[in-house]
Each structure stands twice: as structure tokens, then as C-alpha cells.
Amino acid sequence: MIQNKERKPYWRHTKWQMLATLVPFLAVLIALPLYAGPLNSNKFLSFPLGFLMVGHGIVLIAIFTIASFVNRQDAVDHWHGAHEDT
């Protein structure tokens, strides 16, 4: 059970965690399609790189973003005693 004095630090930590997760992801989300054309001149596994990054790449980036968010946020919850009882 979280202590009252831990609530503010916990929420501050959570906000930083949110920004650290979303800002890079949104930057990639905007940048990837813009560079797809130039990237297409390169190939990876015979795929045009721009097409591959926007198709397969965004899925892998989203999975990695969520996995790292879930683990780090769980660590934040435990650090401040805000976690669920198991």
C-alpha cells in the first residue's frame, strides 16, 4: 500500500516515464513515413527499406515500446510501493 508521502514522487516519476515512452515513439511515428521514399533505395532482406520500416518496423517498435514501458512502470510501482498485491 503506497504511503501518503510517496504519492507525489510516484506521480512525478510516472509522468516522466510517460514522456520517456511517448516522445521517442511519436517522433519515430512522424519521421518514418517522411523518410520512406529515400530509404527505399536501400534493401534489407530484399525488402525496400522504407516500406519495411513502416510496415514491419513500426510493429516491432510498438512492441518494444510497450514491453519496456510495462517493465519500467512496474519497477516504478514497486519502488514507490504503489504496486498491486499478488
Binding site: 503506497i2 511517448l22 511515428l29 512522424i30 513515413p33 534493401k43 525496400p48 514491419h56 512496474d74 498491486e84
Partner: protein, 617 residues
């Protein structure tokens, strides 16, 4: 001392049950293939392929009967993260994400990927900004959460009324698509197929609500995945010698690029805000597959990505599943699984489109009209493909295919047994019913909990009445959805994108502000939602009428900022939220402790028990 009460643990034999289900299904497919070789009539094979699995799904729904509100509305809060993610991923995709998406990839190639980017980004936004807090709140609907957060029953009715059109559009889209696929699968008319779909959706949900929905949809999702994978994996093995279509179609794509160059496909770039997506008619391959922004301009691509992201993140259909997880951690994890399932499926769908393009290039382009292969003539006979002009040899420009037929045309083009085509059709139909059932259940819960019983001061105490009203609402919603899907005659893709535009414009900014900005008050929330909805609807009407240059399907990009600005401005000018509201917010921001809704219901039950009234769920 902790007061957290964990739900009962998940059934440890779930993996065994679904393993048995998949084995049974594979056995059925193999048996039917053997019967086909033995000369059993196609009609009988179609009947077996369509009825047996659908009856199995309904049986799973009936076996998950529930008569406790917590089971009916939140599946007992004990669905493991994997199954929750599986159902969420397929509910987000539905038939549109599999059937329409394969056609979109086939026609516009790269430009179809704004949908995939929007889906992935929507789930990322959802898991970081919304899901953990909604799970801790534990309300069965978004309107229920906002009503408790701002202590306003009026806001509950308003939210429900503004979200219903978005969910109805989604239901109509899936029913429309399901009727088309079901008609092909059963060989009956679209009206009969729609009636069958209505029966399947009701049968899969009515017995146990969210519980039936979860387990019947898990079975359907596994069958849909298998049905998608089998034909394309066999084709990948033939074409690339690797049974991994998702990663092995690169050389095929490279070959396609060379052919496109040799045939003089134009390397054009669309206007920045062009949004030219193929509709219900016939479409050929006029764009280079991997080249970006030939049909959808760069500006529209980004705007569409963000509109879909907001619509998915605030979708009442998907967010209603957060309450089914055993806890906040599992709810977060389930979204990760949803992205795995969704991403894997869409990447597989892109492989289907590339292989079908390859078949068209190899088998059709440049050959004499009279020597057109049997598979193409079969598609022409079914009204799913056409050849224009009178030229002696077939050219790329003279070939046209129905967008929604591409997924099922691949096994036909590859010369696979008819059972494999029926299998693909069954998978598409199952995907449609997953999304339709999720939408129908959401509508029924909104109508029952937010509209019919939402105005009461205390929650309704009669369990049978509460559940029977929800069941009756479900049956009416599905019947209306089926009727709307047939009568509207609109493109399912348009209905789907309008639905996301509306849910994003109504709920996305308000849900985020209600968690991350203490200052938001009930007047601001209500004004923001009403303004966002109005702005989105006006943009859609103006876009359809051609008054503005923005496509109606991108209405979310107007509705979302209008909602955000209105909510913030009205809240800043209005009264500060009460201490009770802030205390509720403080509580849902921390994962630990008992789910707020469950605790309040537990205390209510105790009070009612003392008074001798019937306990509520």
C-alpha cells in the same frame, strides 16, 4: 494493511482447451479436403465448413453462461493477458483489418500502411495514458467511469449518447462485410448471410455477455489466424521455399518492382492532402507497390495515422475489455499481446497482397485474352474480377479486382482445393463476427448500464433485470446493425474510419485529461465531448458535400483539437473540481489496492444486506 482482493485465478487448463479446439478444427479441415478428393459435392463441403465451426463458437458462448453482473460485464476480471490481447487485437482489426486491408495493400501498396501505423500507435497511447487507470477504476463503460469521476449522471447519459453512433458505425461496417463474405461462403444471398451473422453474434454473446464474448472470440481469433496463415504459407513455400510469408516475400517484392518498372508504372506523388482509397468497385494495379504517397498524400498519411491512433486509443469497444484483466499489470501486458497479434496479422495480410500481385503479373499480364487462366475466369464469373477493353492481349490497365475479394482470391489463383478457399472465407467471416460481437456487446452495455439504469441514484439491485435488459439490448443492437449494414450499402472502410473519427473526437482528449489534468471539471468534459462530436460530424458532412478539401474520413483531425481546446477552456473558466473528485482521481492513479468499482459495490452490498434487500453485483 492491504485491502486488495484479487479475482479468482484464471483457469490453468485454458491452453489445453484451446489446443483441443485447434486440433479439432485442423482435423475437420483435413477431413473435408479428403472428402473433396473423394468427390463429395461442393455444396456439402461449404455447408460443413460454414456450420460446424460456427456451431462450435456458439457452443463455447453458451458454455460460458453467466448470471453474475461481474461475470457478464467484466468476464469475472480473470482473463489472462494473452487471451485478452488476442481478442483485443482481433476486435481492433475485425474484418476490415484483414479482408479490406489485403485489398488496400493490393491496390495502393505502401499507402495502406497508415492504418497499421494508426493501430499500433493507438495501442501505445492506450497502454501508457488510459488503460491502467481505467482498470483501477473498474467501471464497465467509459460513460460509467466519467460519471463516477465527475459525479454527474447527466454526463453519463451525454457520453453514452455521443459514443453510441461511433459503435453503431463499427457494427454496421462489420455486418456489411460479414454479409458479403458469408454470402460467398454459404452460396446464399447477402440477406441470408446477414441473418446467419446476426444469429452467430447473438449466440456467441447473449448467454454470458463479456465472458461468452471473450472465450468465443478467442476461439474465432485462433481459427481466423489459422485460416489466414494456411493458404499464404503454402504459397510462400512454393514461391520462396520458406514457410514464413511475413519475412520471405522480399525477393518477390523486388521482382514485382522490376516488372512495374518494365511495364512503365508511373512513379507519381499525390497531392499533399489527397486521400484516394479504393472503394467497393473494381480496381487494378496502377501504382508501384513499395513507392510511398502515390494515392495518399504525405499530409493525409500523417493526419490519418493520428486520427486512427486517437480513435483506437479511445475506442469504447476496446476499452471495455480493460476491466476483464485480473489487475493493472495484466491489463498493461494484454495491450502488448494485442499489438503482437495485430501486427503479425497485418504483416501476413501484406504478404497475401504481394503474392496475389505476383500471380496477376505472372499469369495474366501480357497473355492472350482467350488464354486467360481458369482461376481468373472463375473470379470473373463470380463478379469479383473483370477485364476491360477488346485488346488481344491482357494489359495491367485492363484488369480489375474487387478490393474485398483479394484475400480469398489467393488460394483460387494458387489452384488450391476448394476447401482451402472456404477455410479462408470462414476465417474472414470469423474476424467480422469478433468485431461485430464486441461492438454489439458494447452497445448493449451502454444502453443497459448508462442509458436505461444510468439515471438512477443507486445502482440497480435486481440482478436478473439488469442482465435481461442487457441481453435484450444486445439482440436489438445486433438486429439493427445487420439491417443498417445491408440497407446503408456504404463502404465498410468508410464506416470504419468514420467510427474511429467519432470515437477519437468524443473520447480521446477527455479520457486523457480526466486522468492527467486535475483541473478538468464536468462542464468542461461535457462541453468538450459535445464540441468534438459536433465538429467531427460537421466536417464529415462538409467533406462529403465537397465544401472543404478535407476528406470526410479524416474528420477526427478537426474533432480532436476542438474537443481538447473546448474542454480545457471551459474547465479553466469554470469551478474547480470537488475534493471527492480529486480523491477519486488520486485513487485511480495508483495501481495497488482494490478496484474502485468493486469496492463500492461490495460496500453497497453490505449496506443492502443490513437492510435485507437483494444484493447487487
Amino acid at each position: 494493511m492491504s485491502v486488495a482482493l484479487r479475482a479468482r485465478p484464471a483457469n490453468p487448463r485454458l491452453g489445453t482447451y484451446f489446443g483441443i479446439l485447434l486440433s479439432t478444427f485442423v482435423t475437420l479441415v483435413v477431413l473435408l479436403m479428403m472428402f473433396e478428393q473423394l468427390g463429395v459435392s461442393t455444396g456439402l463441403l461449404r455447408l460443413a465448413m460454414s456450420t460446424l465451426p460456427l456451431l462450435l463458437f456458439i457452443a463455447i458462448g453458451a458454455a460460458s453462461f453467466a448470471n453474475e453482473p461481474r461475470d457478464y460485464f467484466a468476464s469475472g476480471r480473470r482473463v489472462p493477458a494473452f487471451f485478452n490481447g488476442l481478442v483485443s487485437g482481433f476486435a481492433a482489426l475485425g474484418g476490415v483489418g484483414i479482408i479490406v486491408m489485403s485489398g488496400l495493400y493490393f491496390v495502393v501498396g505502401y499507402d495502406a500502411q497508415f492504418l497499421l501505423m494508426g493501430w499500433c500507435a493507438g495501442f501505445v497511447m492506450m497502454v501508457v495514458l488510459i488503460v491502467p487507470y481505467l482498470r483501477k477504476a473498474g467501471a464497465y463503460t467509459l460513460a460509467g467511469y466519467l460519471s463516477r469521476r465527475f459525479e454527474s449522471r447527466g454526463l453519463r447519459i451525454l457520453t453514452a449518447a455521443l459514443l453510441l453512433p461511433a459503435v453503431m458505425l463499427l457494427l454496421a461496417a462489420e455486418m456489411r462485410l460479414g454479409a458479403f463474405v458469408g454470402s460467398w461462403l454459404t452460396g446464399q444471398s447477402e440477406a441470408t448471410a446477414a441473418l446467419a451473422m446476426v444469429s452467430v453474434v447473438i449466440g456467441c454473446v447473449v448467454f454470458g455477455g463479456m465472458r461468452s464474448l471473450t472465450w468465443s472470440s478467442s476461439a474465432k481469433a485462433l481459427v481466423a489466424l489459422l485460416a489466414l496463415l494456411i493458404p499464404v504459407t503454402v504459397v510462400a513455400l512454393w514461391v520462396t521455399n520458406l514457410p514464413l510469408p511475413q519475412f520471405s516475400y522480399g525477393p518477390t517484392l523486388r521482382g514485382l518492382g522490376r516488372q512495374e518498372w518494365a511495364l512503365g508504372f508511373p512513379n507519381v506523388e499525390a497531392a499533399r492532402f489527397a486521400f484516394d482509397l479504393p472503394g467497393l468497385g473494381f480496381h487494378g494495379m496502377t501504382k508501384r507497390f513499395a513507392e510511398p504517397f502515390a494515392s495518399v498524400g504525405m499530409g493525409s498519411f500523417l493526419l490519418a495515422t493520428f486520427a486512427i491512433m486517437a480513435g483506437v486509443a479511445a475506442s469504447p469497444v476496446l476499452l471495455s475489455r480493460t476491466g476483464t484483466s485480473p489487475g493493472v499489470y495484466e491489463a498493461r501486458k494484454s495491450i502488448g499481446w494485442a499489438v503482437v497479434m495485430l501486427g503479425f496479422t497485418v504483416i501476413t495480410v501484406s504478404a497475401v497482397a504481394v503474392f496475389f500481385r505476383d500471380f496477376v503479373m505472372q499469369d495474366l499480364v501480357g497473355i492472350e485474352r482467350e488464354k486467360a487462366p481458369a482461376w481468373f475466369m472463375a473470379l470473373v464469373k463470380l463478379g469479383l474480377a473483370q477485364m476491360d477493353g477488346q485488346a488481344e492481349r491482357l494489359a495491367v490497365s485492363s484488369l480489375g479486382f474487387k478490393r474485398d475479394a483479394v484475400l480469398f482470391a489467393l488460394p483460387i489463383a494458387a489452384g488450391m482445393p476448394a476447401v482451402v478457399t472456404h477455410l479462408a472465407l470462414l476465417g474472414g467471416f470469423a474476424a467480422c463476427t469478433i468485431a461485430a460481437a464486441a461492438a454489439a456487446h458494447t452497445i448493449s452495455v451502454i444502453v443497459c448500464e448508462d442509458i436505461i439504469f444510468g439515471t438512477r441514484k443507486a445502482p440497480v439491485t435486481s440482478k436478473p433485470m439488469r442482465l435481461n435488459v442487457a441481453r435484450a439490448s444486445l439482440a436489438i443492437a445486433v438486429a439493427l446493425g445487420g439491417w443498417a449494414g445491408l440497407m446503408l450499402g456504404a463502404d465498410p472502410l468508410d464506416l470504419f474510419l468514420w467510427s474511429l473519427a467519432l470515437s477519437g473526437s468524443v473520447a480521446f482528449p477527455i479520457l486523457i485529461l480526466s486522468i492527467w489534468w486535475k483541473r478538468l471539471n464536468k462542464i468542461g468534459a461535457g462541453a468538450g465531448m459535445a464540441a468534438g462530436f459536433s465538429a467531427a460530424v460537421l466536417t464529415m458532412l462538409a467533406g462529403e458535400a465537397g465544401f472543404i478539401g478535407l476528406d470526410s474520413r479524416l474528420a477526427g483531425v478537426v474533432g480532436i483539437p476542438v474537443c481538447l481546446v473546448t474542454a480545457m477552456a471551459v474547465s479553466a473558466l469554470g469551478a474547480r473540481p470537488s475534493l471527492t473528485q480529486l480523491e477519486y482521481l488520486r485513487e485511480i492513479r495508483v495501481p495497488g489496492g482494490e478496484t474502485v468499482y468493486d469496492r463500492e459495490m461490495r460496500l453497497l452490498r453490505l449496506r443492502q444486506k443490513r437492510r435485507g434487500a437483494e444484493p447487487s453485483g
